[in-house]
Symmetry: C2
Subunit: 372 residues, 2 copies
């Protein structure tokens, strides 16, 4: 059973307090669920999506008509088995698929928020998810999982709401953003803001949308999601539909054609301001922000069983970053396993066909469920 | 003795034939020389600059007023000793510091070339340099050296004009551009072309220059020139002139401020169309293009003594790429040495203070000179 819903979870009177000091209310959360919540409400799995992900984790995307971004992981008899588990995937706040974000209407002005939307954090996103979990009357999530930025939300759940999490699977993520991570996000933001159609964020009601800037931002991201080796294997120096160089600025090489396509197709489904806000939240993310830089302190109340997964060719959130999580939880005596998957597919591996990865998810979830 | 000159080296009647099938004539070359050519004309060292380099290798840059990009390498008693050697550094064709390029006047139209400039190759750049060497009546260059794209020109000299090169030092380079290299350049080009002020390349006589697009392109390049580790050590997550997050889209982090500065300061000294043409030439570069993919065949006439240098943290032109050159020359029985320098400074290492690198240059040049 699949359901798509939007709920209002806070109000003007009882708003969500944000890290920046401002508040949001009401907060809308658009989310999708799969499967059925059991009577004890013990079989809920929360999936946290990545930067450009959404709630359509295993459903056809309403705009692109493509299958869900984790359709190979979530579904009947898959690693996250919707016959057994009640899967919840909310669109993050700051996003653009129905949850409160810069392109939604500001109740104060009755116009789109644009840059009046407050700068939010990963912690704010998780606080909003917690409102949804409370609304669903779930007192303990069986598992919280997600890759990339989704993994940051998993870490935040472990740190901020440890008693609500029975188990967790952070994937290809980091306890904070490195200078290189911030640099890549800043490049994307500058590309968007350089587009005159961005109009300081006030483009919603105009005929001009910042599609070119957003498209270049997406191209930059795509380069970082793939490894040098996977780019070589997929594209190498192969020419696009020709046998000889064109001596022009057209897309001569397949890799150019691929990147242009990734850029152009992205702008139909994503909001440029959301891209600014979400990348900002990622850059601000530091799980030790409230513990004086101490990872041990940040996770001191964590009791969950944890599986941490990284991919050898991921240079965006490399194994070394993921190991920091594992070492900390180990030092705290937490039941934590670590799996580094050998692959050339780079950061994107968590979205691709990686049988060892699927098996690991399935094995951890099944055994943790049996032990419950 | 330092001299800055511009010469016209081909003519309308005897133009330079380009790989694309078109021709250029006259070809202007702007170049700088240091030191004196000896009577036998045996002490000339040709320096090939990188993508955004120029002929001001050891001289103050006329626009930025900064010292030359290789002032730490080239000069009296330095690794490339201008007391002993006659150093020549020409601006490449396609460039924007006086050599024939897209911002120069097309003799046919008496207007700037813009996108009417033909798409050139690394080989075309070297053919133009050869005209300069002929003009200077030098029959054998004592040494040809350069890093990054400059290294590609060195390889092209070795392959195309082997009898003109006594020794060569290709640095941090590659025998062709990888898919990732092409992707990064394509990102830069798309960023420039997305800027409406680019105006299909016809911006020279307008009030609007594509500075924003070029600035974002430069930011992307800078990220690729540094290693993850050097970015971490230089900037980490340090805030810029503040103690707390700003919760805005201003440059909160030092790395953001650094990148913005790199982007903004670049546009004063570089032409956006040149950036398009030169990156295109780099992407097209494949030393085996005329030898059916065979590296052995490409270097079969090479007799020069060669030192090849790479840097451990260079992910743009990693050691593995440089080793391809070494293996090939080894197989051909060429006197080739290889040095991989341990450093965290990434691709930019060849422009930075790296004593081991300076010593290697000096050692190779001195011993080769003694053996002459």
């Amino acid at each position: 059973m699949e359901e798509n819903k939007i709920v209002e979870l806070s109000s003007k009177e009882r708003p969500l307090l944000l890290d920046c000091g401002k508040s949001l209310g009401p907060v809308k959360i658009a989310y999708t669920t799969y499967g059925n919540l059991n009577e004890q409400k013990s079989n809920a799995i929360l999936i946290c999506h990545a930067l450009t992900g959404d709630q359509y984790v295993a459903s056809q995307h309403p705009i692109t008509k493509k299958e869900g971004w984790w359709s190979n992981v979530v579904g009947p008899n898959k690693s996250i088995d919707t016959n057994k588990f009640f899967v919840i995937c909310p669109n993050i706040i700051g996003g653009c698929m129905g949850s409160t974000g810069p392109k939604e209407i500001d109740p104060l002005t009755q116009k789109e928020f644009g840059l009046n939307f407050p700068v939010i954090t990963i912690s704010d996103m998780v606080k909003a998810q917690k409102l949804l979990i409370d609304y669903l009357s779930i007192e303990k999530l069986f598992c919280v999982t997600g890759g990339s930025m989704g993994g940051m939300l998993v870490l935040e759940w472990l740190s901020k709401f440890p008693e609500y999490v029975h188990s967790a699977i952070p994937i290809a993520t980091s306890v904070n953003h490195s200078a290189q991570n911030i640099a890549l996000n800043e490049l994307a933001r500058q590309s968007i803001m350089a587009d005159p159609n961005w109009q300081s964020g006030n483009y919603y009601e105009t005929d001009n949308q910042p599609t070119k800037g957003l498209s270049v931002a997406r191209m930059a991201a795509h380069i970082s999601y793939l490894s040098k080796e996977s780019l070589h294997q997929k594209f190498g120096r192969n020419l696009q539909d020709k046998n000889e160089l064109d001596y022009s600025f057209k897309a001569d090489f397949q890799i150019e054609s691929y990147l242009r396509h990734q850029g152009i197709s992205f702008v139909d489904r994503f909001d440029a301001n959301s891209y600014l806000y979400i990348t900002r939240a990622m850059d601000y993310f530091d799980i030790t922000a409230n513990s004086n830089g101490s990872l041990i302190e940040a996770f001191k109340d964590t009791k969950s069983k944890v599986l941490c997964i990284s991919f050898t060719s991921d240079w965006l959130y490399p194994t070394s970053e993921n190991k920091k999580i594992v070492k900390t939880l180990n030092a705290l005596g937490i039941d934590v396993s670590f799996l580094e998957i050998e692959t050339e597919n780079g950061h994107d591996s968590f979205l691709l066909h990686e049988p060892e990865f699927f098996d690991a998810l399935n094995g951890f979830i099944s055994s943790t469920w049996r032990e419950l």
